[in-house]
């Protein structure tokens, strides 16, 4: 056997590969051969080191030195310095890292991990890991000596409310399903998480699938269901795979299937995969989809608790709702109710996105205010810019202006402010964001996802989108704002499902809080944030050094100029894509 004095691990995950990791690997081997070191130093491939954003990276053992941003050209120097001369090359040293998980960092002081407690800590593909963290202890407690009524009582007392959007009390929902006589009954988990910008549920499914299963089994016992379905969106293949592994393991342990833990209670769960329709997150549409039909919502009542999947009593909850259940049973309703506000108990996960220093997944006690989330948890606005608005609740939520920053995050307070809790999208926008453009963006989303079944939603959202597009293009007219307001009202009250009813929210809330921006677009033909293409112009100023970078990156060749001379943009050709501004290293391109 060969003895290697040193091992070099080269990261070959997708991000590093896209930055040429394979070439670096080849170059390393070549160089080691050339230097006669190939018998002393072994080069290996590895999947993830953790600093991939700065591209090809390697780890040298036994020293444990982590290099990043190494290109093929750097290899000879690196080999000479590190392996021949034994000197660490500072230039490529990875910056000291505190955390390698980009989505879910270590909790900050204002965070509390209940739903996310196991994510990133246990191996989701190993049920024993979950069991070691008190997993399935709640189920044992329930089957070992609680009546279904007692379970429901406990959930009611905890104050747990649905985490899928509307915030309906979970215990009440279970009571209704329990009260229905018909059988079989179904327990459904809504894992369709379709809001753009939201990935809280995915993380739970991928990181702690058994918590969701356990919650569902307990719920199934409480309402008297015999079968469960998890409806997961097709965009989440890893979550689907992880869930299926978890279900198999739970079956093997007798935690799913016939006569669970010898209690006489039988319950099994199956995963069903969606096919890319946002509206399938709506409960009646979701059930139609499980039935193998077009995912179109139907009017309620009858509610699912009475007539749901295949016309049978069904209970539907969100992933996060179920994930809370085992801990409420184990630690007691009082413990859960000690977190949050009077009417909103417990914690909520949010996917932080947008212009903050720390994006990613967080879990905070309800009742925390926006300021604490933005400035403490998310560590403030990027680049020292000013906060303009926060969008909460996804495409059916609204935008809150800075003035609302001290508002507590709970179901009632958000509703009062004109948005919804939603499933946990939390987009922070700085002063460079155009609110009309944001409203247009969400309208595009809902218009596109409208299933078309009812007229107000299908036609109304299209009309609204057309007006918004016109305003953004600089062709807004007198009367547009009033027309938008009318449409908002009409669509809200006449649409069949929550999608149509919520679709006007982004427009309504921006009209309410940022009306002046609409007015500037329409009456002054000006986009205050300098975003809307129809209302801006790119210009090159004297700072230009003539490096030609912009001209080479312009997709429509709108930029001309000699090397080392100031360049110019032809406004008639320019499509206002903004690439030149992004690539210019001299801040020589400005928007007028």
């Amino acid at each position: 056997m060969k003895y290697f004095r040193s091992h070099v691990l080269v990261c070959v995950d997708p991000e590093c590969l896209s930055k040429g990791a394979h070439d670096v690997l080849d170059a390393l081997n070549d160089e080691l051969v050339a230097q006669g070191l190939i018998d002393e130093i072994q080069v290996l491939e590895t999947s993830r080191i953790g600093g991939c954003t700065v591209g090809p990276e390697l780890m040298v053992y036994p020293e444990g030195v982590h290099y990043v941003g190494v290109s093929v050209d750097d290899v000879p120097y690196l080999v000479e310095e590190h392996f021949l001369k034994g000197r660490v090359v500072k230039k490529f040293l990875a910056p000291p890292k505190t955390n390698t998980d980009e989505e879910l960092g270590a909790p900050t002081s204002k965070e509390v991990r209940v739903v996310l407690r196991n994510c990133g800590k246990i191996d989701p593909e190993n049920i024993d890991d979950y069991i070691a963290e008190d997993g399935y202890a709640a189920l044992e407690k329930v089957l070992g000596g609680m009546t279904p009524e007692q379970v429901i009582e406990e959930i009611l007392a905890s104050g747990l409310r649905g985490r899928g959007g509307a915030g309906f009390p979970t215990g009440r929902k279970w009571q209704f399903a329990r009260a229905s006589r018909a059988t079989p009954k179904y327990m459904i988990c809504n894992a369709d998480e379709g809001d753009p910008g939201a990935f809280m549920n995915r993380r739970v499914l991928e990181g702690d699938p058994h918590a969701v299963l356990e919650g569902m089994i307990i719920g199934g016992y409480a309402v008297g269901a015999s079968r469960g379905y998890i409806y997961c969106r097709a965009e989440y293949p890893v979550a689907v795979r992880t869930l299926r592994i978890a279900i198999d393991q739970a079956r093997a342990y007798g935690l799913l299937g016939e006569n669970i833990l010898g209690s006489g209670f039988s319950f099994d769960i199956e995963v069903r995969v969606g096919a890319g329709a946002f509206v399938c997150g709506e409960e009646t549409a979701l059930m139609a989809s499980i039935e193998g039909k077009r995912g179109e919502p139907r009017p309620r009542p009858p509610f699912p608790a009475v007539s749901g999947l295949w016309g049978k009593p069904s209970n539907i909850n969100n992933v996060e709702t179920y994930a809370n259940v085992p801990q409420i049973i184990l630690k007691g309703a009082q413990w859960f109710a000690s977190m949050g506000t009077e009417k909103s108990k417990g914690t909520k996960t949010f996917a932080l996105a947008g212009d903050v220093n720390r994006t990613g997944l967080i879990e905070v006690p309800l009742g925390i205010n926006l300021r604490e989330v933005i400035y403490d948890v998310a560590q403030g606005i990027k680049d020292g810019k000013k906060l303009k608005a926060v969008q909460i609740g996804g495409p059916m939520g609204g935008c809150l202006p800075e003035a609302y920053i001290d508002r507590p995050i709970d179901y009632e307070s958000l509703a009062e402010a004109g948005t919804i809790m939603g499933s946990g999208g939390f987009v922070v926008m700085d002063e460079d964001t155009c609110m009309v453009d944001i409203a247009r963006f969400f309208m595009e989303f809902t218009q596109d996802e409208s299933c078309g079944k009812c007229t107000p939603c299908r036609v109304g959202t299209r009309r609204m989108l057309e007006i918004l597009q016109r305003i953004c293009a600089g062709e807004g007219r007198h009367g547009d704002i009033e027309m938008l307001e009318d449409l908002c009202k009409w669509i809200k009250i006449t649409s069949l499902c929550g999608l149509g009813q919520g679709a006007p929210n982004p427009v309504e809330s921006t009209l309410k809080h940022f009306r002046h921006e609409y007015e500037a677009h329409i009456y002054e033909k000006r986009c205050p944030a300098k975003v809307c293409k129809g209302l801006i112009r790119y210009e090159i100023v004297d700072a230009c050094t003539g490096c030609t970078v912009c001209a080479r990156n312009c997709p429509v060749n709108a930029i001309t100029g000699q090397r080392r001379q100031k360049h110019v943009i032809d406004p008639n050709v320019c499509i206002r894509c903004g690439i030149c501004e992004q690539v210019c290293n001299f801040n020589a391109i400005v928007i007028r």
Partner: protein, 168 residues
């Protein structure tokens, strides 16, 4: 675009023995599940890559459901495609974070580099360009997904190199 089982194009999966065997296996495994139509179509899309009109007709016949219903489901969900796709799929995330992070500009540039519009397949059949909804990696916005591979924090000047993967 309903199609009967009489005039199947020669290269349709229903007419190609290996593919047909795959379809039959998928049907046999799933057709008795409750709500099987979605499951079968999902499997066909995953394993064959698309669900042609002839495949829809075949599924309807084998499962004893009206062709109308199968067609209705296929046309409703954006994941199902009725035509073969490019060898690679390039998806541009147009979720909130990516949109705010500059995706529209990247798309303009990509259209030029690939000489192909969104929703279309390049002339050489190499790549299909699509926009998609949030892929759940917002912290890395803007995000482009080539096949199953995610590329985050894509900058316009790095785009051509990334797109090379979809050109061979």
């Amino acid at each position: 675009m309903a199609q009967t089982l009489h005039d199947i194009p020669k290269n349709d999966p229903v007419a190609v023995p290996e593919q047909k065997a795959k379809i039959d296996r998928i049907l046999a495994e799933n057709k008795n599940l409750p709500g099987a139509v979605m499951v079968v179509l999902n499997e066909l899309q995953a394993q064959i890559g698309f669900v042609s009109p002839a495949m829809q007709a075949y599924v309807a016949q084998q499962m004893h459901v009206p062709l109308q219903q199968v067609h209705g489901v296929v046309s409703f969900y954006s994941f199902f495609t009725t035509m073969p796709r490019g060898k690679h799929t390039v998806k541009f995330c147009m979720g909130t974070a990516c949109y705010v992070g500059g995706m529209p500009q990247l798309i303009e540039k990509a259209k030029q580099v690939m000489n192909c519009d969104i929703g279309k397949t390049t002339a050489d059949g190499m790549a299909t360009l699509e926009v998609c909804r949030c892929v759940g990696a917002c912290s890395q916005a803007p995000v482009i997904v080539i096949d199953e591979e995610l590329h985050g924090r894509v900058r316009p000047n790095k785009l051509p190199q990334i797109l090379k993967k979809a050109q061979q």
